[in-house]
């Protein structure tokens, strides 16, 4: 956006103790961070926790951000790691929160109430897909990031992003169809690093 202060400049100000600058960073990115976390964890409550964890880690490590990657790439990476940590801590099966396990949040956009109902199946199916496939699908297909950026965020080669993307998509479509998991035998888990360059 023209005239908008660059993330990197805000980071510099925030590192120097300007809490308003950090506030702008949070405000600017919280939506993406929260939605990434929501799709990764499938629960509003977990997404809030992961969002908080991600920003707290970002706050602590802000001074170590050297600008070798774009700030958004760095923040996405921090968020992905926060999601992994949280998913690991959770023994229960994550589900998109419903009215019976969480106090209902009034939807901020009334139009989205229906869309949320419709997307609940997709979200459930997403959670049936292995995390390492899920994350690339969310970053690329939901958040519309290019392969290269997904690769930089997750820390895997671009080729691996592409193959995980394909396997994840197939697994997702199968999970929605409710059919048996008929993955290729070698695609049972993300053990693809060795095969992709």
């Amino acid at each position: 956006m023209p005239g908008e202060e660059r993330d990197e400049d805000l980071v510099r100000r925030a590192v120097n103790g300007d809490r308003a600058a950090f506030g702008i960073i949070v405000e600017r990115h919280e939506r993406r961070v929260y939605n990434l976390a929501l799709r990764m964890t499938g629960r509003e409550e977990d997404a809030r926790d992961a969002t908080q964890d991600a920003f707290l880690v970002a706050l602590r490590k802000l001074a170590s951000f050297r600008g070798e990657a774009a700030f958004t790439t760095w923040l996405h990476r921090v968020t992905v790691n926060a999601c992994y940590d949280l998913l690991r801590k959770r023994s229960r099966t994550p589900l998109l929160s419903t009215a019976d396990d969480h106090e209902p949040e009034p939807p901020a956009w009334p139009d989205h109430a229906d869309a949320t109902d419709l997307s609940i199946d997709v979200q459930r199916a997403l959670l049936a897909v292995p995390e390492d496939y899920r994350v690339v699908m969310i970053l690329h297909d939901v958040q519309d990031l290019p392969y290269e950026e997904v690769a930089a965020i997750v820390g895997i080669p671009v080729g691996t992003v592409k193959s995980r993307l394909h396997r994840g998509r197939v697994a997702l479509a199968r999970a929605i169809r409710g059919g048996p998991e008929r993955e290729r035998p070698e695609a049972a888990g993300p053990s693809d690093e060795a095969r992709s360059r």
């Binding site: 939506r31 908080q52 997307s119 394909h166």
Partner: protein, 253 residues
């Protein structure tokens, strides 16, 4: 048979070059598995693209901002001198308002300090010329000794403040009003170095408790830029004891 998995995602995304696409097409002609997968993958992409972006629940980043406030406080203790100077400037501003209030005697009489019940209408004399509303000590301190705020109540406060935020609410305390000094103290306590900008306009100032701790609550309207209408409401909560940040939250108007 080896399947060109890396290319299959690009095939669905339409990012393959002509040659690569022809290669995949040749493979698809002989591979039913990949044909089925292309179909599944295409369907998955359509569904994923339609996932709505959800709004961030109010207060999600509040603990983060509280933490950011703490770090700032511990790291920039020495700049409290600057804050004091700034508070002195505030006192001068308050005096200026008081003078204006005296010059408009009727206004001076009717300007109420909101009662503990809160929610009363405020008198709205014009701000002194050239005075930055954001740095004004002229918003009265509302005493709410029995109110204990939490996330839900803060959100309600944001909503009610947003409704009256469109009006200019600068109440002028009378010159004799001792609470003006208290309001200044509260305002200075809320305004940490760098915490507020010229784009933040204080609209309400409350003395209450927050999650059981004595606190000052400042409700600010923030403009995206000079001469633009405020587009979000920001609530800072600081401890009365040491001005440390207890909570920060904001909401778009």
């Amino acid at each position: 048979m080896t399947h060109p998995e890396e290319q299959l995602s690009g095939y669905v995304d339409g990012t393959l070059g002509t040659d690569e696409r022809a290669e995949v097409d040749a493979h698809l002609a002989t591979c039913a598995t990949c044909r089925e997968e292309i179909e599944l993958s295409t369907r998955a992409v359509t569904m994923l693209r339609e996932l709505p972006e959800m709004p961030v629940p109010f207060g999600t980043t509040r603990p983060v901002m509280a933490e950011a406030g703490k770090e700032r406080t511990s790291r920039t203790r020495r700049s409290w001198g600057g804050r004091t100077q700034w508070a002195a400037g505030l006192a001068a501003a308050a005096v200026l308002v008081a003078v204006v209030a005296v010059a408009l005697p009727r206004v001076g009489q009717v300007a109420p300090v909101e009662s503990a019940a809160g929610g009363g209408a405020q008198a709205t004399p014009k701000a002194a010329p050239g005075m930055e509303a954001a740095t004004s000590g002229a918003v009265p301190l509302e005493l709410q000794p029995n109110a204990n705020y939490d996330a839900t109540k803060l959100e309600r406060l944001a909503d009610s403040s947003a409704q009256r935020g469109s009006q200019t609410t600068l109440a002028a305390p009378s010159a004799a009003d001792a609470s003006a000094a208290k309001a200044e103290g509260a305002t200075a306590c809320l305004a940490g170095p760098g915490g507020l900008t010229g784009r933040d306009r204080l609209v309400r100032l409350i003395q209450a408790t927050f999650q059981g701790r004595p606190a000052y609550i400042g409700v600010y309207l923030q403009q995206p830029g000079a001469d633009q209408p405020a587009d979000r409401i920001v609530i800072w909560v600081v401890a009365r004891q040491d001005c440390s940040t207890l909570s920060f939250s904001f909401k778009r108007l």
